[in-house]
């Protein structure tokens, strides 16, 4: 077990190191930031000074070494655009993103779990068919379109909810439903599949024979058996939501990391791009790692393979 843990940690660190290269190169490939931070009146000397100030005039491999050294100290550099530490800017934006992902996750569970269980209990019924339709719709609707349609209905046609922005509970409704609906589709299908399996298991069949009330069987035993893959999947889904929120954040003007990253890319703000991507990636990787470890603990076959 300890060896498995160490191997996974080691692999994660190697992956992280590769990521730094990937991010660093990607950011630099996006182009020259000078026309975006300096006015058109600026002279060539001004531009050269800017590049020198941020070390952009040095060979790329040297820049990378400096970048890596600073990152290890937690320093992601100063934003070209906002002249504040990039890491602080990203940190300020991660709160809204985590909140949105969390609330969306909750929506996904509240929608997906009951639907999946209901469908598993009545295979072949119209209810199961409806749930199937719901899930495939959820998978197929791009979040930006869901969001726009929700805005159209609930903020423009019947103005009951704010179309965008951040701050109040009402602001959460539309973006969280948008993301939650999307995530609920896979939660539904997963719950359905695992519940079906659990209901078929000898254990549950036996309980049925023993005459234990159906409700109790479902809630207490079948669900418990089905919950391990569901819970681990939710963990992964949370990671996906963190990154997947980019478009939703854009649609609802949500001040999160996704928005910040898109802006930073458009502004050629390398330090912010690097900090935002690194932070998201580390979060996602940590979640994946924890999920993997959980799986290994609960299912010993994994760590041996």
């Amino acid at each position: 077990m300890a060896r498995f843990l160490l191997t996974r940690l080691g692999q994660a660190l190697v992956t992280l190191a590769l990521l730094t290269v990937l991010i660093f190169v990607l950011a630099r490939l996006t182009g020259d930031p000078t026309p975006l931070v300096l006015p058109s009146e600026a002279t060539e000397a001004d531009r050269a000074f800017f590049r020198q100030q941020y070390g952009l005039d040095r060979p790329v491999h040297e820049q990378y070494v400096v970048f890596l050294r600073n990152v290890l100290r937690g320093d992601f550099g100063i934003s070209f655009r906002y002249r504040e530490p990039a890491f602080d800017l990203v940190l300020a934006a991660i709160g809204p993103t985590l909140q949105l992902a969390g609330v969306s996750m909750l929506v996904a569970i509240l929608l997906g779990l009951p639907l999946g269980i209901a469908a598993a209990l009545r295979p072949g019924s119209w209810l199961a068919a409806t749930v199937r339709g719901y899930a495939s719709l959820g998978q197929a609707m791009p979040t930006f379109w869901t969001g726009l349609m929700l805005i159209f209905v609930f903020a423009i046609s019947i103005p009951v909810l704010p179309s965008s922005g951040y701050g109040t509970a009402a602001n959460f409704v539309l973006p969280a439903v948008t993301l939650g609906f999307y995530a609920s589709a896979s939660v539904t299908m997963l719950t359905w599949a695992n519940m079906t399996e659990a209901l078929r298991s000898d254990f549950v069949q036996m309980e049925r024979v023993l005459g234990i009330p159906r409700r109790l069987i479902v809630l207490k035993h079948a669900l418990r058996n089905a919950s391990l893959p569901i819970v681990t999947y939710l963990g992964l889904q949370f990671g996906l939501l963190l990154g997947g929120a980019v478009v939703t954040e854009r649609v609802f003007a949500w001040p999160g990391v996704g928005q910040m990253l898109v802006d930073a890319i458009l502004n050629r703000d390398y330090p912010v791009v690097q900090a935002a991507v690194m932070l998201t990636a580390v979060l996602v990787m940590t979640i994946n790692l924890v999920v993997d470890l959980l799986y290994a603990v609960l299912d010993p076959r994994v760590s041996r393979s």
């Binding site: 590769l18 182009g31 899930a135 379109w145 997963l190 599949a193 980019v246 991507v277 996602v284 994946n288």
Partner: protein, 296 residues
């Protein structure tokens, strides 16, 4: 992520988390029909479309659909902000959306399969390196990576396809590697080895065909995903650019008009949903047939 990942439901591109086999018996007729229709529209779109999709008509701006007051049969689905026929644009959009999605899946699949095959079969350093790169690519949410790539490489169809390839090859590599690792241990491969065949022929002739069904299923499921990715990029303004038309682009350009002309956002959105649902249904059906163990 190791072999464990392949067993985890809902991972590695299994959009529905695997193991659902309901309706595996008969093909989803409606979805297949839609897919075929889209392919026809993509191939012969120019002949069907009533108008040239990017021809502006400044006398017919924002004409509503035929059945809405003020609409006419000349533009059954209405016109956009430059007076272009929505129906013709949707048909033209099918072409671009399918082309980019198809090409991206094909290219990503090829690269991923090649690397996955190499990693799985050769093992050792190659495997370690490839799999860590795969992990790095998978740790980044694909839309973020796509955004950075687009900003770096620029927009345009060719670049969008390249970007989509770069963002999806890793999943194929991971799938193929895990397939290969399991196939490698089977008797016929060991036999081929004993018979003195060299690695490349073994990989191509004996291992690849056995992994092909999984790859195919992942590929079909990926088309829907690719359509959504392309439309999301276009929606953010970093995807397909005019005068090409994609559904995502049409949606993005129509967005500001939502309060005055709903049809600019509703039609392209419906087209995306219908297309993705159909490809997903087809993929699910294939998966149920070819992959009863639900490893995808």
């Amino acid at each position: 992520m190791s072999a464990a990942a392949g067993e985890r439901p809902g991972d590695a591109g299994g959009l529905f988390g695997g193991r659902i086999r309901a309706g595996a018996g008969r093909p989803p007729l409606f979805a297949t029909a839609i897919c075929l229709l889209l392919v026809v529209a993509a191939l012969g779109g120019g002949a069907i479309a009533p108008y040239v999709p990017d021809e502006a008509d400044f006398t017919a701006i924002l004409a509503p659909p035929a059945w809405v007051e003020g609409g006419s049969l000349a533009h059954p689905l209405g016109t956009d902000q430059l007076g272009r026929d929505m129906l013709s644009r949707l048909i033209a959009g099918a072409r671009i959306s399918l082309l980019t999605a198809g090409a991206a899946v094909l290219a990503g699949g090829t690269v991923g399969v090649a690397l996955g095959l190499a990693a799985g079969y050769l093992g050792g350093v190659v495997e370690a390196v490839v799999m860590r790169v795969v992990d790095a690519f998978l740790a980044l949410p694909f839309i973020l990576m796509a955004l950075a790539f687009v900003a770096a490489l620029g927009t345009g169809i060719g670049n969008i396809i390249l970007v989509m390839m770069l963002t999806n090859w890793a999943r194929y590599a991971r799938l193929v590697r895990s397939e290969v690792v399991s196939i490698k241990k089977r008797d016929f491969v060991l036999l081929a080895r004993v018979a003195g065949l060299r690695p490349l022929p073994i990989a191509l002739r004996h291992i690849l065909p056995n992994a092909l069904t999984s790859i195919l299923v992942l590929g079909v499921l990926d088309v829907g995903r690719a359509i959504i990715l392309e439309s999301s990029l276009s929606f953010l303004g970093l995807g397909i650019q005019p005068p090409d038309v994609s559904w995502g682009l049409a949606l993005a350009e129509g967005r500001t008009y939502m309060t005055v002309a709903w049809w600019l956002t509703v039609w392209p959105g419906l087209a995306i949903v219908l297309a993705v649902m159909s490809f997903n249904a087809l993929g699910e059906w294939l998966k149920a047939g070819f992959d009863p163990r639900g490893r995808l």
